[in-house]
Every structure is written in C-alpha cells, then in structure tokens.
C-alpha cells in the first residue's frame, strides 16, 4: 500500500484526535486511582453518559453546542460525585476486588438505565464542527479533528492549572501522596475523594461529548472506549498525569496507523501494545522501572 504525505498527515491527525480522547479517559482513570486506589470500570459509562447527555441537551433542548458541552460534562461530574458518596465511600475499608466489582455493578446499572432512556438504536449527533474539509496547500484536514484536539488541550491545561495553582488542587495532590498526613494537615480527605470522583467522571463526560459528532451515540459505546482509556493509562505509566496524556496520544496514533494497514484488527492494537508494555516495561513509558 502506498501512502502520500497528505494521507500520512491525515492518519496522524485523526490519531492525535482519538489520542486526545483516550488521554481524557486515561486521566479519568488516573485521578480516581490516585484518590481511591481503585480501577473504575464505570469510567467508560461516564464517556457514554457525556455523549447521551450532550445529545439530549443539544438536539432535544436545542442549546448551543458550547453550553451543551459544558452542561453535559458537569452533569456527568455530578453523577460521579453521587457514585462516590453512595458506593465508594461505604466500601473504603473492603478489599480492592470488592470495589472493582462494585464499579462493574455501577456500570451494568448505568448502561441498563441508559438503554431504557435512550433506546438501543444508534443515534446520530449532528456534525457541529462542520463537515467540509479544510484544504491547506495539498493537505486535506477534517475540522472536527482540529476542534477535538484544541478543546482537549484546553481541558487538560485547565486541569493542570487546577492541580498546580489552586488550593483544592494542591490539597488533592497531597491527599494522593499521603492520605493520613493530609488529613492531619486539616484537609478534608473525603471531600477530596468526592472532588476526584467528580473530576474523573467529568473528564470522561467531556470525552464523550467531543467524540459524539464523529461517531454514532449508543449506550454500549463506553465499553470499548473505557478499556482503551485504561490501556492508555497503563501504557503511559499508571497513576501519573503526564503518563496518561502520553499514553493516550501514543495509543491513538498507533491505532490510526495500524488501522490503515490491517483495519480488521484496529481494536486489538490497544491491547497488543498493552501486553507488550507489561512484558517489557511494566512501569509504562513515563513510569519508573518497577519490579
């Protein structure tokens, strides 16, 4: 197969766009893991909820996309907060496996509820970013990919500012580092758990609304996206924020490149890379070498 430069740029651009979505998902996994030491298998469903909320707000209620985008993300964040308060907090002292299974229970419940509300058919989200390709010289670029990358960069920059510049952000990092010491310094660690759960759910939600205009919206869309976001987090180095971003981008681009060669195995790329990383560099790309 022959690729022209223009093809290659397009493949990489769409890879970076998908990669930024994976990065948002991976950040969601990372933040909740750092706060609660928990792998949240309902993260994919936050992604799905973001897309379905966005669809309802934008298509049914006819709100402008920017408002629908923000409200959908915030709505999912509230769902995350409720889940933390009702399920994660009572389970804090139980073995990790119980918590993981509880997140799976949440996932089953949310997906079934969404199926009742939005139905089993794939729903079309109108192309808000325009569907006419932009031509720059010989390059043909799809505008939605540029928008996805731009918005994801803004969201991640805001998140980084929150963690480094604001007091709650610093308190959250302190809690992740040493929970007891943070509590002794007067940080309300339970409020930090709530906040972490809300932020991580919100990130998933933003990812969902962003991707909705590119793909169809279904209640099952979160399943694979969740697993891939998780793979991205492990790939970059589980539990670190730069790791999640790098992991997401690497995964997105390699998936896009692989898809142009063997499209049937597109979805396997994430997991092949995941296992390869576990075998040769279990700490991830950005992580320390651990044994």
């Amino acid at each position: 197969m022959q690729f022209s430069v223009s093809d290659l740029v397009q493949i990489i651009l769409s890879g970076v766009a998908m990669g930024s979505i994976y990065a948002l998902m991976a950040l969601g996994f990372t933040i909740i893991y750092n706060a609660l030491r928990l792998i949240n298998f309902a993260q994919g469903d936050m992604f799905m909820l973001g897309a379905t909320f966005g669809l309802t707000l934008f298509v049914m209620w006819r709100l402008p996309f920017s408002v629908a985008f923000l409200l959908a993300g915030l709505g999912v964040a509230v769902v995350g907060m409720i889940i933390e308060r009702t399920v994660f907090r009572p389970l804090r002292r139980y073995p990790v496996l119980n918590l993981i299974i509880a997140t799976i229970g949440i996932s089953i419940t949310l997906r079934a509820l969404a199926l009742i509300i939005w139905g089993s058919q794939a729903l079309l989200f109108p192309p808000v970013f325009g569907d006419k390709p932009i031509t720059v010289g010989k390059l043909v670029l799809m505008p939605h990919y540029l928008w996805i990358i731009g918005i994801a960069v803004v969201v991640i920059a805001l998140l980084q500012a929150f963690f480094t510049l604001t007091l709650p952000g610093k308190a959250m990092r302190a809690t992740a580092q040493n929970r007891d010491a943070a509590a002794l310094m007067g940080i309300n660690v339970f409020r930090m758990d709530s906040l972490a759960s809300a932020i991580s759910a919100g990130l998933g939600g933003f990812g969902g609304v962003l991707i909705a205009p590119v793909f169809f919206v279904t209640t099952e869309m979160g399943a694979l996206a969740g697993l891939k976001g998780f793979a991205a987090a492990v790939l970059g180095g589980f539990g670190t924020i730069p790791g999640a971003i790098v992991g997401g981008l690497v995964l997105g681009v390699s998936e896009s490149l692989a898809a142009s060669v063997v499209s049937a195995y597109r979805d396997a790329v994430a997991f092949v890379i995941l296992i390869a990383v576990l075998l040769w560099r279990p700490g991830g790309i950005m992580g320390r070498k651990t044994r």
């Binding site: 496996l97 799976i104 009742i116 997991f271 995941l274 296992i275």
Partner: protein, 329 residues
C-alpha cells in the same frame, strides 16, 4: 467416634450426589435443565477463579478468553479432525492451560494487579482473533455442527443426558480442587494471599505457585469451554467477552471467595436472580446491577462468608438478651 463421623460424612456425600442426580427428573422442563447445565459449566470456571483469587489472591478479568479457547479447541478438533469428545475434552483444558502459562509467567512475576490488567487485554485480543480469523474459526458465523459426546456407542444428545456428563465432570473438578486446597500446596496458596513477603521467607516459591494457580484455573476454564461447545452444538465469538469474564467473577465473589461452596452458591444465586428478573423486562439488568452492588456492600465476604457471620451476630445478640433477662435474680 472418628470412624462413625467419617461414615456419616460419606453417607452425606452420597445423599448429596443422589439428590443432585434427581434434579433433572424434578425440573423436567428442558429449558430449566439447560439452565442447570449452563450453571454447572459456569461453576467449573468459577471454581477455578475461586482457587486463583480466593485462595491465591490473584485477579483475572479475562477468564472468558480461556473458556473460548477451550470451546474452540474442542469444536475444531471434533469437527475438522474427527477427534472424539473424550480426547478433545482434556486437550481443550491443556491448550487453555498452555495459553495461561504463556500469559501468566511474565505477568505474575511482577507485583500488583498486572495479571488483572494483562488478562483484560488477552480477553479482548482472543475475541478479535476469533471474530476476524475467518479461515480458522469461521469468523462471526462461528462453528456449526459440533457433535454430541458418545458414550459406549450411545449419543448423549438431550439436555437430560448431558446433565449427568456435565455433573460428573463438575464433581471431578470440585473434588480435585478440594484436594488441592487441603494439601500443602493449598496452604502455600493461602500463605501467598495473606502475606507474600512472609510466605517467601517461609520458603514458598511465590512466583511459581502463582503461575501454577493461574494455569490450573485456565485449564478449568478450557474444560468448561469444551463442555459448553458440545452442549450448544454451535459456538460463535460472541458470548466470550469482557462482560462474560466479569459476570463469572461477580458470581464467584457474590458466592464468597476462598470458601469451598462459594462458587456454587454464587452461580446458583445470580443465575436464579437473572432468570427471575426477566419479569422486570427492561429493568432486568438495572435490578441485577443494583443487586450486585447491594451484595458487595452488605456481604463483603460473599454469601458463603458473610451469612454465617451475620447469623452468629444475630445469635449472640439473642443470647445476650437472654442473659440480661436472667440477671436480676
């Protein structure tokens, strides 16, 4: 005293097995017998997970992949190469175990939840290969016409007949697991679950034993897959995904990890729950998911672990109340 206790234990075992053998006669309805058959196959997988997680403390979230490998091995050997079921059954367990070894050896030497993560990846890859490797696995169409097992010249073709075959295999696996758990090997597994470092200091080769526990559990899944293929007569790549892996893990956990009867109780409980919630139609899965969360929140050790504790607590409260009433005199 000891002899009579032993005798009574054996009598109880025979009575128990006899009672289960009557189950299909009592159920009569083919659909219910089919559910019982499927439940026993799931119990075999759950028993392996119990050994791996409940006794050895390692987590696998991709066991449906090994189940699928067993099912496809058996289906291909019998339909393409004309093997008999009796040769394909152990072969399926063996192939699944070899794959388990290949995955388990590198990941289990690492500390932490790496097996859990890798097993998710393996689960997805196996499903995609089954779906896309059309030449080998029939792709999305799956494999049709898997023959029924033959015993002494007779074909075991009805749910009723297959019940006894599956029950016999389940009983063997349950017995083998019980033997492992009671042996020094089982105690070494428990030591790993409770404290890896301490176990290592006592001379337990933890990396090797973790791999062994994983390989045994994948072999069980392979055997279960073979039975499943011959029970259904038809298999497709759907139905061996992440959902199924997680479903079996949920059952094992709800029943009680690290308890002998845990997997049996869990599979029965959740199978019955799922079937009776059909009444709720659209809300079936909502209720199922909520039930799962409630069981985890209120019975963190599963039914087999938490119910006796709750009963003890309740009895203690009754006793205390009785004492208080007696005290004033």
């Amino acid at each position: 005293m000891a002899a009579s206790r032993l005798a009574s234990k054996e009598v109880r075992q025979v009575l128990g097995i006899g009672a289960v053998c009557l189950v299909p006669v009592v159920l009569r309805n083919n659909y219910y017998i089919h559910l019982a058959n499927a439940a026993m196959i799931t119990m075999i997988v759950a028993t392996g997970l119990n050994l791996l997680t409940g006794y050895c403390g390692q987590i696998s979230i991709g066991h449906a992949a090994f189940w699928a490998v067993g099912a496809y091995t058996s289906a291909l050997l019998t339909t393409r190469l004309g093997w008999s079921f009796w040769a394909a059954l152990p072969a399926s367990g063996l192939v699944a175990a070899v794959l388990g070894y290949v995955i388990g050896r590198p990941t289990l030497r690492l500390k932490g939840a790496y097996l859990a993560i890798a097993s998710i990846g393996v689960g997805e890859i196996v499903q995609l290969v089954l779906l896309n490797w059309t030449k080998g696995t029939g792709g999305a169409l799956g494999i049709k016409g898997i023959p029924f097992p033959r015993l002494l010249g007779f074909e075991l073709a009805t749910e009723f007949q297959l019940f006894y075959l599956i029950f016999a295999v389940f009983l063997t696996i349950f017995g083998v697991t019980d033997g492992i758990v009671r042996s020094p090997l089982g105690r070494a597994f428990l030591a790993i679950r409770q404290n890896e470092v301490a176990a290592q200091f006592m001379g337990v080769d933890i990396a090797r034993l973790k791999v062994l526990a994983f390989v045994i559990s994948t072999a069980y899944a392979g055997v279960a897959g073979s039975l499943f293929a011959h029970l259904q007569g038809y298999i497709s790549p759907y139905g061996f995904g992440f959902k199924e892996s997680v479903g079996i893990l949920c059952m094992a956990l709800a029943g009680g990890m690290g308890y002998r009867w845990g997997p049996v109780i869990g599979v029965l409980l959740l199978t019955i729950a799922r079937e009776s919630f059909r009444y709720f139609q659209d809300y079936q899965l909502v209720v199922y998911g909520l039930l799962l969360i409630v069981v985890i929140v209120f019975m963190p050790k599963g039914v087999a672990g938490s119910v006796p504790e709750l009963v003890d607590k309740w009895r203690g409260r009754l006793r205390r109340r009785g004492q208080r009433r007696g005290q004033p005199t």
